[in-house]
Structures are given as C-alpha cells and as structure tokens.
C-alpha cells in the first residue's frame, strides 16, 4: 500500500483499514508513504522496492496521477496487480483497477448545496477558498474546481485554480490541509475582506481552522463552511453546526476492496471489475448536512456518523 502522505488522517485511516483487512485475510501488507502531498519520487521508489521484494500487488493513491504511470507500467509488466485507490490515474486504464471517489463530483455536491443554501444571496456571495498547497496537487484542484462548477463559477482551466475572475471570489489561500493552516488562511482572507460569508475548505481540519479564526473575531455565525472528507470528527462538526455540509468519502472501503482484490488475484488470477458505466469502481460520495437543500442529494448526519471513518 502506497499512500500520498502519512500526515493526513485520511490516508492514515486508509492504511488502518487495509491493515485490518490484510490481517483478516492473512495477507502480508507493507506500507509506504510520500513525504508531502505531490511527492512522486518517494512513490516511485516504493514501487521499485515492492518489485525488488517480490510483492504480488500494489495499492496506490497516486500523488501525481500522470507522472507515476511509467513506473506503474513497469510494475505491471513485472506481473504485479496495480490498483489505484482514491485517485484515478491518468489515463485511468494504466492501473488494473481503480477504487476511488470522484473528487470533482464531491466538490460539485458542496457547491450545489452552498448555492441552494444561500439562495438569492448566492449572486453576491463572498467566498473564501482554503486550498491544499501552492503546488496544486490534483485532489485539491479537483475539489476546488468541482465546488466552483457546482456553485456556478466559470472555472476556466479545470486543471488549476486561481485563474478565475468571478468577483465573488475573495481569494485563495493554502492550508496544507491542517487546522493551523486553515486558521491562518482564514485570518488572512478575513483581513482582506471581512464580509466573507461562504468558505470552501479542502478538508475538515482546514474547515475547523477556519471556524476557529472566525470565532476569534466573533463571526462564527453567519458564515457557511463547506468541506470534503467525511471523517467522524468532520461529521460531528456538521452535527454541531460548525460545518454546513461535507462531502463524505470512504477510504476504509477503498482499502478493504483493494486488499481483497489483490488477495483474489494472488489466489485465482482474477482481476476486479469496474462499476458499470464508469472506468473505475466508484466507492461513492455522499453529502452530509443537517440542512438538506432541494435538488441536492444528501444523507443525514446520523447516517453519516455510521459510515464515517476515524
């Protein structure tokens, strides 16, 4: 199992899920991780180490969906089963199978919900974007651009954020996906425009940081925050009203399915199949909110808490 980083709880959960499943099936699992989000080289090294030590299959959440492909091809040629988790490769068929969520779609759900929630005010909303990193890793961009799409902002180049001209955007700031970063980013954007009333956060820790920043200047009420991930902490934040809505994803399920697939492949040589109609196996995304909006599919908090991870 090769994850993007070990510092993001999302991947930590994924690792734990995989370990639990591996133990159940009696499979030997080795894990690797990059040093930072976007660290392609560590992942290349990890794949090579797997090949050298005679692994049967690789589960990977690619840091760079395109740059990892040549190495993956080598691994597949060497007879390893390669499964992409969470993030699709580019092209998707470079892996034997992908168990993933559609990050763009998760963003779209957030955006649509926020648009409906603000209703008439959506026209002149003041939005803060709390993104992942200046290097613009794929996930961050997909989620961000999905949100804009859902909210009805012209996203220009879908592969990068920051090129939009919509006046409703107060600004982008980077958080590193952590509370501290979220807080600092929010403070900065607030200093720029104190009238922000909608916050898009790359993940729930960033959202939590944003909430802290808002609270410390007495603006906790009246600002809507949306996030993506669906960790139990995050869902509870939705419950408490800190986060308006979060798009929930399922790292544990991805990991479990992935380990199973490798197990099956090692036993029988059978490769897993994709969700009909898609080129990957969609583990799904659900919007969780206390305040469902019409036309935006969502599940209640209670259901979310059952499905949540971490």
């Amino acid at each position: 199992l090769i994850t993007k980083t070990d510092s993001n709880p999302y991947f930590v959960k994924m690792k734990q899920g995989a370990q639990a499943e591996a133990k159940k099936l009696g499979v030997q699992l080795k894990s690797y991780a990059g040093k930072y989000d976007g660290d392609n080289q560590s992942q290349v090294n990890a794949i090579e180490a797997c090949m050298a030590s005679g692994a049967k299959g690789i589960l990977i959440t690619p840091s760079s969906t395109k740059a990892i492909v040549p190495t993956i091809e080598k691994a597949r040629k060497a007879g390893l089963l390669v499964i992409a988790l969470d993030t699709e490769l580019d092209p998707a068929n470079a892996a034997d199978m992908t168990f993933a969520t559609d990050n763009f779609h998760a963003g779209v759900l957030d955006g649509e919900w926020a648009k409906a929630k603000l209703g008439a005010k959506a026209k002149d909303a003041k939005i803060a974007f709390l993104d992942l990193a200046v290097s613009q890793p794929t996930v961050g961009v997909e989620r961000d651009q999905g949100f804009m799409k859902g909210f009805g902002i012209d996203i220009k180049n879908p592969n990068k954020w920051g090129d939009e001209t919509d006046p409703r955007i107060v600004g982008h700031a980077v958080t590193g996906g952590a509370i501290e970063g979220g807080q600092k980013a929010m403070e900065t954007l607030l200093a720029k425009n104190p009238n922000i009333n909608l916050v898009y956060a790359i993940n729930e820790p960033a959202a939590e940081g944003a909430y802290q920043a808002l609270k410390s200047v007495g603006k906790a009420k009246g600002v809507t925050i949306v996030a993506i991930d669906g960790s139990c902490r995050g869902v509870r934040d939705v419950q408490k009203g800190i986060i308006g809505a979060t798009a929930q994803q399922y790292p544990l399920m991805m990991a479990k399915l992935g380990v199973e697939a490798v197990y099956k492949y090692a036993k029988t040589g059978a490769k897993p199949k994709a969700t009909p109609g898609l080129d990957f196996f969609n583990t799904g995304t659900n919007l969780i909110t206390k305040d469902p909006q019409k036309g935006v599919p969502s599940i209640p908090v209670k259901k979310g808490l059952e499905l949540c991870w971490g």
């Binding site: 930590v12 920051g162 952590a178 501290e180 954007l189 200093a191 939590e208 802290q212």
Partner: protein, 363 residues
Amino acid sequence: MVQSPHEAQRLERDAQRLEQPVAASAAQVAEFDQDRSLRHRVQHRLHMTPSLVPLFVVVASIAGFGLLVGPGFFSAFALTLILKQVAVTGIVGAAEALVILTAGIELSVGAIMVICSVIMGQFVFAYGLPAPVAVLGGLGIGALIGFINGTLVARAKLPPFIVTLGMWQIVLAANYLYSGNQTIGSDQIDARAPLLNFFGGQIQIGGAILTYGALTMIALVLLLAYVLRHTAWGRHVYAVGDDPDAAELAGVKVGRVLVSVYTLAGLICALAGWVLIGRVGAISPNSGQFENINAITATVIGGISLFGGRGSILGMMFGALIVGVFTLGLNMYGTDPQWTYLLIGLLIILAVAVDQWIRKVSA
C-alpha cells in the same frame, strides 16, 4: 533612514511596544543626510544596535503595504493580526536564534514543538493526568530532546546540522506513531483542560487584539535579549559561536554552554507547542513540519550570522515580523497564493540586501 537621534531612540523604544501601530514613524523615511555629524551619530547607533536595521525594514514594509493596500492595513486589527500570526514562529525562532548564535543550526525545532503539544494532549486525554502535569511533561520532554541534541553536538562532536536533521525525522515520525494521527478538538480541551488552551486568551484594546501568545513571544524575546547581553552565560554563547577553540582556551566551558543552549532551545520549542495549542485551539499532530524553515528565515533576515557569534535576538523577532507583514500584505492586496509565494522569496532576498546595504553605509 531615520531622521534624528531621537527618532533612532524612538525606533528602539518601539521595539518594546511594537504592538502599537508604528505607521506614523514610517512616513518620514529616506530624507536624512543634511548634517554630517548627525548622520554619523545615526550611523553609529545603527552600528551599535544591529537590530535597528530589520526594525527599519519592518516599519518601511508596513508603510509600503499601507500605501499599497490602503488604510485597512494600518488598522489595529490587521497590525495585531500580524503579531498573532508570527507568535509561534517568533518563539520557535528564539530557540533557533540561540542555537545559530553558537554557530549551530537546529532543524528539529518545529518537530519538537509539535510533539510537545501532542504530548500535553495525550497526557490529559489518554492518560487522564491533570493539565499542569501534562504541561510540565511536555516542557520536560522538549527540554530532554534538546538535551540529547546538545549532548550529541557538544560531547560526541557531531555536526549540529546532522544531529538535528536526524532528530527532525525521528521526532516527526515518533510524533505520528505516538499520536496515531488523532486530532484533539477545542471542545474537548475547553471541557477537560482549559489550561492547555491558556495562550488562546487575548486582551482587546480597541480594534487591537493581543493574544497571550503574541505577548509571550515579545516577553520571551526581551528576556533572552537581556540574558544574552547582561549575563555571563549570554556572553559565553556569543564567544562559543565566535570561535569555540578560543573560547575554550579563554576559560569558557564550551561543552556545557552548548548543552545548555540546545536544552533551552528544546524547552522554548515545547513552550511554542503550548502556545500552538492556544493558537490553533486544537491539538493536531500535523502542524509545524517545516516550521524550522520559517524559524531560520526569521533568524537570518533578522541579521544573525549563520556562522555564529554575531547578531541580536531582537533582530530575529523583526525578521519574523518582516515575513509576517509581507505575507499578510500580499494576501490583502489580493495576489494569487503562488505569486505571494514568489514575491516572498523575492522580498526575503531584498530585505537582506537592504540590511547589508544599510550596514555598509553605516559602517
């Protein structure tokens, strides 16, 4: 640079009440040089008090951004926000500055900070210890890690860069392993151990919001400035950084000074970890991985030589503020984050270039 000796003295006083808007004094920049003896006096002052130079850059950049961003930047809110944002970096930077003064470098500062905040949290929430014990435990472990660094540097004579590079990785990894990557939220902290959140408190004066964290940074830096200038230990720190062989021959216990400096640095980092809890309102093992780079940047911009023995810790604080001012200013001006990143890179170089230039003309 500055207009009169009184001005110069005032700038120095400002160092001690930076919290107040310093905008006024910045407007009259770049007009001096009528009276030669006056100029000489100013130059002499700059020469004797090297931290005035980064202070000048701080003031100038605040003025600059004021013009650029508009009066919003001069608001007490924005100016105190800068202080708030640099508090953690400033404290970690103080630890870094101490080590750099001994011609060392400390790459594990951020890691020590994070693990100490996590330890404080775990002591309370995993082991159920009372909050004061947890805080003491965190501080103690910070000092212990520093002590190990110091011992390896001073006794085993390993290069500080390597010791702390290794320690950085060790501590970060230990942190993830130990914390299990769990975040402890503000509600939990408020409910069970409000002491951990102590530094989140703040004093409000008009629009100015001074967090205890920011005040702690200022107090710590002033205290260290006093210690470095006015105690034997402080002089020894400079002597060790300047030329350790000469210091040893002249009767300084170089090893002991080094160990004490690294231990103190570890302790200060642990304090930074506590402040971090208050700052973030939560305990998250994901912070501060690269705080070492921020701390070194602040130290070097502040005019402390990486070769040791030269510079003032006040300068470090102004260095941190320079970065803080640029970051906030550029963001408020609305530059794209990538451009901000680029411009900060440029301005780091520029700030030091201005510093060097002032030193030259005032030499």
